[in-house]
């Protein structure tokens, strides 16, 4: 999560009823689990609190030090035991009390285990559902959305933000229940045993709350500072490690060292500041608890002397007094969790609620073949009125090959994006077989095309997966066949694991030419009616160059193709060449026609020619063979 977003969290509400209501809908499939969990939490608090009470009764009834008469609960229990004739002798009584205690421990273990597993798994299932929903929505959102939202931020939605919610579901809600029940339990038991002593003991509660709140606030503030400091150190290190050559070139070691020293010292001091809160908090809580115990000794002791409190109950008070600070302190911590969760859920819901504008209309038409493709007076802008395409019209018949040429930024690649309906145009029509593409089923439209892009995107996975894209409908045989036809099989065979060879992130380790061949194989494996080829311009060695030449021919054979062309050979053999300039079609015709006029095409051609001559000179091949 970015620092900016973290910062947003801190201003967020800890409880937003609207968000919570929506979050609770995710619990609906797990209603039973939730109810069972809550019931188990109650059980577990009861079992947890039973121990000291059992020992208290055991002491009063059986150990009976100083032969004091059992009073209070112990007295009640004795009366009840005597009435039912179950009063045992002291040794047997101690055994029974110990056994009952052991049973509550065993029961407590089972209940707590079950509850924790149930609750945490439920949290996981809810997160699973949420992640799935977010990811599926991301697969539908318009490409435009991705232009505007950096990938890094979107990943956070699926990962970190969802985890913040998990924290709330598992550690938050149920733990709050648990803490409250334990607290209520202690209060109830102590009041039941002796309400006066309970009141005296609880007089220290405000101090516990006060100290806890003071600590949480201070600790949170200093923690935030420490985090900001360490973030500054990390940013500095990150920058200076990657820019170490600049530091060394400019002899800046000393100056940069001094800057780092300042950051480092600030981090140290922020940490030392935060130690203060911890160093005070633990002893302070210890002291307050000790005051509680001293109060029990003084007031409770007095009651024992007067005979209004049993010794066993006094011992139990000591035990409970040591336990009841924990849930109070815990509760004060939950605030942060809730706050973070509210902020995260708000961001998640905002993403899920982002509408999708490019989608299949109702009563859409299916297409599986292409008779014609037509751009009719197309105007398009990514933003407002900054036209990238202006009044563009052209028509491609089945089996034809058109080449689009133009200088950088002429709008060539945009044509591809529009054909695939990554964006909707503002004016005009794009027609396939005479039907506006906005009336077609989006998937069936995209299946008409295979696109070979300039910067071929490799996914991590195997080489084979990158050809089939993991599509199960493409059998390995077809993958191999496709690779063989574009002669990509040769270099694949040289890889240690062949088609199973792993592809690292972004295809590191593959040359540009190899990536090109893989992209040809991918296009061929999908075997679409129309090929869109965005040729690469980068230099490749002769051998690969000629492989790519041949691959291109194989790909285009018998297929309608639209080529954003850089290679002279591809341009020359096109049925129609469209010359784009500043978003308009300036010239159109065959190579010969266009060469005969002294226009853009001739200049572009000459430029390409010179560039390719340079490429060829590297490898020593003849220019003549190109033209």
């Amino acid at each position: 999560m970015s620092e900016i977003e973290r910062h947003e969290d801190e201003g967020a509400k800890a409880f937003d009823p609207h968000l919570v209501r929506r979050l609770l809908t995710y619990l609906r499939p797990y209603r039973l689990r939730t109810v069972v969990s809550v019931v188990l939490v109650i059980f577990s608090s009861i079992l947890e609190l039973a121990g000291p009470a059992i020992i208290a009764i055991g002491i009063d009834l059986f150990v009976r030090p100083g032969d004091l008469e059992p009073v209070g609960i112990s007295g009640g229990v004795r009366d009840w035991l005597q009435a039912s004739g179950w009063m045992a002798d002291p040794i047997a009584g101690i055994n029974i009390a110990a056994a009952v205690y052991l049973l509550t421990l065993l029961g407590g273990f089972i209940v707590l285990y079950t509850q924790m597993v149930l609750m945490n798994l439920m949290g996981q299932y809810v997160m699973y559902d949420l992640r799935k929903q977010i990811f599926e929505h991301l697969q539908k959102l318009d490409i435009k959305f991705f232009d505007r939202n950096p990938v890094g931020r979107l990943i956070t939605r699926v990962t970190t933000d969802v985890d913040a919610l998990n924290e709330m579901f598992t550690a938050g809600f149920v733990a709050i229940f648990g803490d409250v029940f334990v607290l209520l339990g202690i209060v109830a038991v102590l009041f039941w045993m002796n309400w006066q002593l309970a009141l005296v003991l609880f007089s220290i509660t405000p101090f516990i709350i006060l100290v806890s709140v003071w600590f949480r606030r201070g600790a949170r503030r200093t923690y935030r500072q420490v985090r900001a400091r360490i973030a500054a150190i990390n940013a500095f290190l990150q920058e200076h490690i990657s820019g170490m050559s600049v530091v060394q070139l400019f002899n800046r070691q000393e100056a940069e060292g001094a800057k780092f020293e300042v950051l480092n010292a600030k981090h140290r001091d922020a940490n030392i500041d935060s130690i203060f809160y911890y160093a005070v908090f633990y002893p302070a809580i210890e002291l307050i608890q000790s005051i509680g115990i001293a109060l029990i000794v003084w007031y409770g002791g007095g009651q024992v002397i007067q005979g209004t409190l049993s010794l066993g109950a006094l011992v139990a008070f000591f035990q409970y007094a040591q336990r009841f600070y924990e849930p109070i302190s815990d509760l004060s911590e939950k605030y942060n969790i809730l706050q973070a969760a509210m902020a995260a859920s708000e961001r998640i819901f905002k993403l899920i609620d982002t509408p999708v504008s490019i989608r299949t209309p109702e009563e859409a038409e299916q297409v599986s073949q292409v008779e014609s493709i037509e751009f009719r007076d197309v105007w398009f802008a990514y933003n407002d009125e900054e036209w990238v395409l202006k009044n563009v019209s052209f028509r491609v018949e089945k089996g034809e090959r058109i080449a689009i040429v133009g200088h950088t930024g002429a709008g060539k690649t945009t044509v591809t994006s529009l054909l695939l309906r990554f964006y909707d145009i503002q004016r005009g029509e794009i027609l396939i077989n005479g039907i506006d593409i906005r009336r077609l089923e989006v998937e069936s439209l995209r299946r008409l095309f295979a696109i070979v892009q300039q910067d071929f995107f490799l996914f991590s996975g195997t080489v084979g997966d990158n050809i089939s894209l993991g599509d199960d409908s493409i059998p390995p045989a077809r993958v191999r066949n496709a690779a063989a036809r574009v002669q990509a099989d040769r270099f694949i065979a040289r890889l240690p694991e062949g088609y199973e060879a792993p592809v690292k992130e972004r295809g590191a380790g593959f040359s540009v030419g190899e990536k090109q061949l893989l992209s040809f194989a991918r296009a061929l494996a999908f075997d679409p009616p129309v090929l869109i080829l965005d040729e690469a311009t980068s230099s490749i060695d002769t051998e690969t160059e000629s492989l790519i030449q041949k691959g291109t021919e194989v790909l285009m054979a018998g297929r309608t193709s639209i080529v954003i062309a850089h290679r002279l050979s591809t341009i020359r053999s096109a049925d129609t060449i469209l010359v784009f300039h500043h978003g308009e079609v300036r010239e159109r015709g065959t190579h010969e026609e266009l060469m005969s006029i002294d226009g853009l095409y001739r200049r572009l051609y000459e430029l390409q020619y010179r560039q390719q001559r340079e490429l060829l000179e590297v490898s020593g091949a003849e220019v003549a063979s190109w033209v």
Binding site: P65, Y101, R131, Q139, T159, F250, A294, I305, L420, E614
Partner: protein, 579 residues
Amino acid sequence: MSPIRRLLHYFARHRWSLALGALCVVGSAAFSLTKPLIVGTAVDALAVSSSRRDLVWYGLLFVGAAAMQGIFLYLQRWIIIGTSRRIEYDMRGDLYEHLQSLPLAFYNEQRTGDLMSRATNDLSSVRMLIGPAVMHSFSSLLIVFGAFVMMLRIETGLALISLIAVPIVAGLVKYFGERIHDRFRMVQDHFGDISARVQENLAGVRVVRAFTQERNEIETFRKMNREYVERNRSLIKLTATFYPALHAMIGVMFVVVFFVGGRRILGGTMSIGEFVAFQFYLARMIWPLIALGWVINLFQRGMASMKRLVEVWDVAPERPGEQLCEPQEFRGALELRRLTFAYPGGPPVLREIDLNVEPGQTVGIVGRTGSGKSTLLALLARLWEPPEQSVFLDGCAIEAIPTARLRDIIAVVPQETFLFSDTIGENIRFGRAGSSEKEIESMAELAGLRDDVTGFPSGFSTVIGERGITLSGGQKQRTAIARALIRNPVILMLDDALSAVDTATEERILDSLRAVRRGRTVLIVSHRASSVKDADQIVVLDQGAIVERGTHEELIGLDGYYADLYRRQALEEEIEEIA
């Protein structure tokens, strides 16, 4: 130096505060152990019925002991944890200083991410070892031992039985602690995989859509998502066993005390006060026992991290070099004699380069990508070590001049512009510390940056990078040029430093540079003929060798690579101009 010795070296620097901290640990343990005794005595006094006045005294005594314990606790944490932060500070400072002294070859082999993780994660687990691990192990051992001695005094048999709990609880914590840590890492690893997958899916969104692979992607994601739940399930089962088990274990200890203690009281060998005191001691021991198991893991992780840090420390720093040759004055005469160079383990990148540059000359270097242009500049700046006796500066072999001295008189504008996320002004001042605002502005003027900067909200104080504005490629390059110019170097090297600015701006910058160029040697590497056409000499590199050399006119006459480059650019401009 071995990890332990290096660690001890840092401890030694702070030995007095550590010793004081240890004293405080002893103090807090001692007072903490007297408290149960007070309660026990008070309860016994009750059994033989005493007065309420006595009870007040017991209560006050108890609070007094607690207060003393509190003061020592406070000091112990303040001193020991504080010292651990100071040691962390020392180590981090030393580490960074060391990193700065390492040669560039080291950074070519190391991934930034790995170094970062050493400087952050590893350092932090070493800090955990120095602070919390040391403090808690010492105080835990003291308290466990002290409580045990006190329990022995109360009731030997019961104390011995309770002793069984020590290995059980500590073992439980260590066993589960380790496994929970491992499983947690497995969960985190998979979390990383999921992030990477989503990252790819989103970055490749156009490919996914174009090939209609959305369903496929959803299915893959579903599987990973499912696997994540499964891995969490095993983590959840562990934690759901651990905490309740620990809870139950502690409970069992109390049952045993009651079971045995009750009998002893009945038998008259133990008083109720001793019973209560015993319970208190037992309660005292629990947290230290848990801490011990945890501390063992901290020690293991901390030592492993220390080892990784020492690996970096053991890399030898770059030798600064001795002053073996001192020219009377650096004038910028460069001579390359049969310079041949290859990167470690690679084929030669430069072959037999001979070049003579007079002081004040401007040299243009052109050639295709990978022809060795940038390597040539890197050797002159000694970012890589050229072979001996092949590069001479003002009559001195370059290896005979200390690196720092050499870099003082040169300024490089690297191909990949690297700016720091600081203000624009500071980025220019980076070239020469202590430069005045006026100097910065005039350098920006020369670099053609000034008009851009005055358009920014806070001018030269505008912060760039993630926290500020994003500069365009051209603006970045021009900032880097200003940064180099402010050094007032004898030799200025521009490594394709104008590639991201349009030709008109390039023209302007070159014009203004012409004035500055006077009296200094300038080397310009470029892909564009326009950048070098006015140079005193132009060399064309191809596969590491000089294939053409001469002035612009001479090379045009040669009708080779350079002439073609020149015509191509003219053509490109012509196309641009067609509206």
